[in-house]
């Protein structure tokens, strides 16, 4: 069965009277959001998928759309949700919180749950709307921390777990002194805090640290500060161009230390781009979808992972990376919640909170009222990036 994918048209300039009408309509919708939460079409369930198809987040968003489409197709091929087909209504937030809010407003009343946006900023921006409409929002960014009992969920593993796994692995390898360099954006600061906390737990010392702007084009000074305490390894908690600048700086300074970075860099396009400047040892904490083949997992998990990876490769001609995995699981989980709640949109939150031991490709999910992420430390391993490929090295 095929799915109906609708792209919301880009906003067009409208005459003042129409624009005024739109403002009134938006206000009315915002104030009466609770009553507008159920999708208007009873013959199918509709998920609103908001991703970054353009802008800074498109590195993740394009893959997320592919992963979500694959999940919907597989669900429909198995008979849909409670016998009804699952539809996807998609929108591009242009990596912009304001656009994310606009697209969410357009979807209220016609979708049964939201999946996305791709980035933490837009996720934070849409949650008040989703909450007022009593709609689940499965944010695809790991960078948000959902409040207990809220309507917001967050994808993938928490930063604290990634940091603890990484430092514990290094400790097991005899590395107890690390340098830390990170960007001054929300993701970098979150990572730096997680590394510092994990260091205290694992008995590893952060012997030098420095921060830099995400748009910096040189980090010589910061690397000098980071390595002043003669660390045995470096943590680069930044992603995209900022991480590339740091790797190039490490290469230019002739540093031969093992380096670790954030899972935000787990896209093959990026790894290929930095291939010439990848440190000899580049480690990344990663969820199960990156190392399932190299570890003993249950038969059920093996089947799920193989079905996902093979079908993704056949359909898109590339291996899935970070984006497709979180979106694929997001759709599976939300669909299960809708099924369990028998289509009761407001009841889907409680249904999703009650899911335990559900296998996804990223990991095995067990949610609770105070755990809207569901992924644990067992789902995180350490992979090594070499020549644009990833190899499991430990947990």
């Amino acid at each position: 069965m095929t799915i109906a994918v609708q792209f919301s048209p880009p906003p067009r300039p409208s005459p003042p009277r129409r624009r005024l009408g739109f403002v009134f309509a938006a206000l009315a919708l915002a104030t009466t959001g609770c009553s507008a939460s159920a999708a208007s079409d009873d013959s199918a369930y509709t998920l609103g998928l908001i991703t970054s198809q353009t802008g800074t987040g498109s590195q993740l968003g394009v893959g997320e759309l592919q992963g979500a489409q694959l999940a919907v197709d597989q669900i429909n091929a198995r008979g849909g949700v409670n016998g009804k087909p699952l539809r996807l209504r998609t929108a591009d937030d242009q990596s912009n919180p304001a656009q994310a809010v606009l697209q969410t407003r357009k979807m209220l009343g016609s979708v049964d749950a939201l999946v996305g946006p791709s980035l933490s900023g837009p996720c934070q921006a849409v949650i008040p709307l989703a909450s007022s409409a009593q709609l689940i929002d499965y944010c695809l960014s790991p960078g948000v921390k959902p409040k207990p009992g809220s309507y917001q969920w967050s994808a993938s593993a928490p930063t604290d777990t990634l940091a603890e796994r990484l430092l514990a692995y290094w400790k097991s390898q005899g590395i107890t002194r690390v340098g830390l360099i990170y960007t001054t954006d929300a993701s970098g600061l979150d990572g730096a805090h997680a590394i510092q906390s994990a260091a205290a737990h694992t008995g590893v010392s952060v012997v030098g640290q420095a921060s830099y702007s995400p748009t910096a084009v040189s980090v010589t000074s910061q690397l000098q500060a980071t390595t002043s305490g003669t660390p045995q390894a470096l943590v680069v908690w930044s992603s995209g161009a900022a991480a590339g600048v740091a790797f190039k700086g490490i290469d230019q300074m002739g540093l031969k230390l093992p380096v670790a970075t954030t899972d935000g860099n787990l896209t093959y396009a990026f790894l290929r781009r930095i291939a010439d400047y990848t440190p000899d040892t580049l480690l990344i904490p990663a969820t199960r979808d990156f190392w399932w083949q190299q570890q003993n997992t249950s038969t059920q998990v093996q089947q799920l992972e193989r079905g996902y990876h093979d079908e993704f490769r056949a359909r898109y001609g590339a291996d899935p990376d970070f984006g497709p995995g979180v979106a694929y699981d997001g759709v599976l989980l939300v669909a299960q919640a809708l099924e369990k709640a028998h289509g009761n949109v407001a009841g889907a939150r409680d249904a999703l909170e009650s899911l335990r031991g559900v296998s996804g490709v990223v990991g095995t999910y067990s949610f609770a009222r105070d755990n809207h992420r569901g992924i644990g430390a067992d789902d995180v391993g350490i992979v090594r990036a070499t020549g644009g490929r990833l190899t499991f090295v430990g947990r």
Partner: protein, 292 residues
């Protein structure tokens, strides 16, 4: 001590790029009274174009300089004729600032559209070689950046001080109306100034891309750094642009070593603002430039 010298060398390399951008801003300002904030955008555009040319043609990275620099001299002349000159005929110089901001945004959008949001880099001109002296490692590409700055300053000095074209440029910079009454084609001089600024942007972009990763979002930091360097050095002053750029790079490097990333930017800017309060003309600017 070697650590501090390493920081200063990195700061000088960054400052060299800022100085090249500031030179273009300053040259255009002195001739046209337009502060071209888009200069930093052209630097990134040239850099990414150089990467693409290098990949398409498979030529050594250094060869891209020979291709991109004249190309951008022509491109900037076209921009001057199609955008700047018509806009300047209708708008005051301060409103032209908005036009150049719009141009900067347009360049950022074009970069995102054509090159996407992945970062780009290129192999260094002399390969991954570095000189190590007393524990201080000097990357060969840094020498190319400083070399490009030295060649640009020398060529500009020769053009302005030793040629008849330079004389007419100085006359136009000093008083465009008087120069026009003397029979100087001010429009042509303005075209030449923009064209030279385009070449400088291309030189900055092609020499810095092997030392870093650039993408569409890098246009703003370069635009801001180039503008600040030009103003701090003294708008319209060639020597001021060079000094302003190098000082800004060194300050950012030094403060980044001892403070957090964001604080380093703020402190470097604060020092330059205090400088402008104490000396409104900038380090080497003339009082007449401020009054005007």
């Amino acid at each position: 001590m070697s650590g501090l010298i390493q920081v200063l060398i990195g700061g000088l390399a960054d400052g060299g790029v800022y100085a090249l951008i500031a030179l273009g801003v300053s040259l255009v300002y002195s001739i046209s009274r337009i502060i071209n904030l888009a200069q930093g955008g052209f630097v990134v555009l040239a850099a990414l174009l150089a990467v693409s040319i290098q990949q398409w043609l498979g030529v050594p990275p250094l060869v891209t300089v020979v291709i991109v620099v004249p190309l951008f001299a022509v491109l900037m002349a076209v921009v001057e004729r199609l955008v700047m000159a018509p806009a300047a005929a209708r708008a005051t110089p301060d409103r032209m600032l908005l036009v150049t901001v719009g141009l900067l945004q347009a360049i950022g959008g074009l970069l995102l559209l054509v090159w996407g949001n992945l970062p780009y880099t290129m192999q260094p001109f002399s390969g991954d070689t570095a000189i190590t002296i007393g524990g201080v490692r000097i990357v060969s590409q840094y020498l190319w950046i400083i070399g490009a700055l030295v060649v640009t300053v020398a060529a500009l000095w020769f053009l302005v001080q030793r040629t008849s074209l330079g004389l007419t440029m100085r006359a136009t910079a000093s008083n465009p109306e008087a120069a026009a009454l003397q029979g100087i084609n001010v429009g042509r001089i303005r075209l030449i100034a923009f064209s030279l600024a385009g070449a400088m942007a291309a030189l900055a972009g092609t020499t810095v891309i092997p030392a870093t990763f650039l993408q569409f979002s890098t246009v703003t930091p370069y635009a801001v750094a180039g503008f600040i360097a030009a103003v701090a050095g003294g708008l319209g002053s060639t020597a001021g642009a060079v000094v302003g750029g190098l000082v800004l790079g060194l300050l950012q490097g030094l403060f980044s070593r001892y403070t957090s990333g964001d604080l380093a930017q703020v402190i470097a800017m604060a020092v330059l603002i205090v400088l402008l309060l104490v000396r409104p003309t900038g380090l080497l600017g003339k009082t007449s430039e401020v009054r005007r």
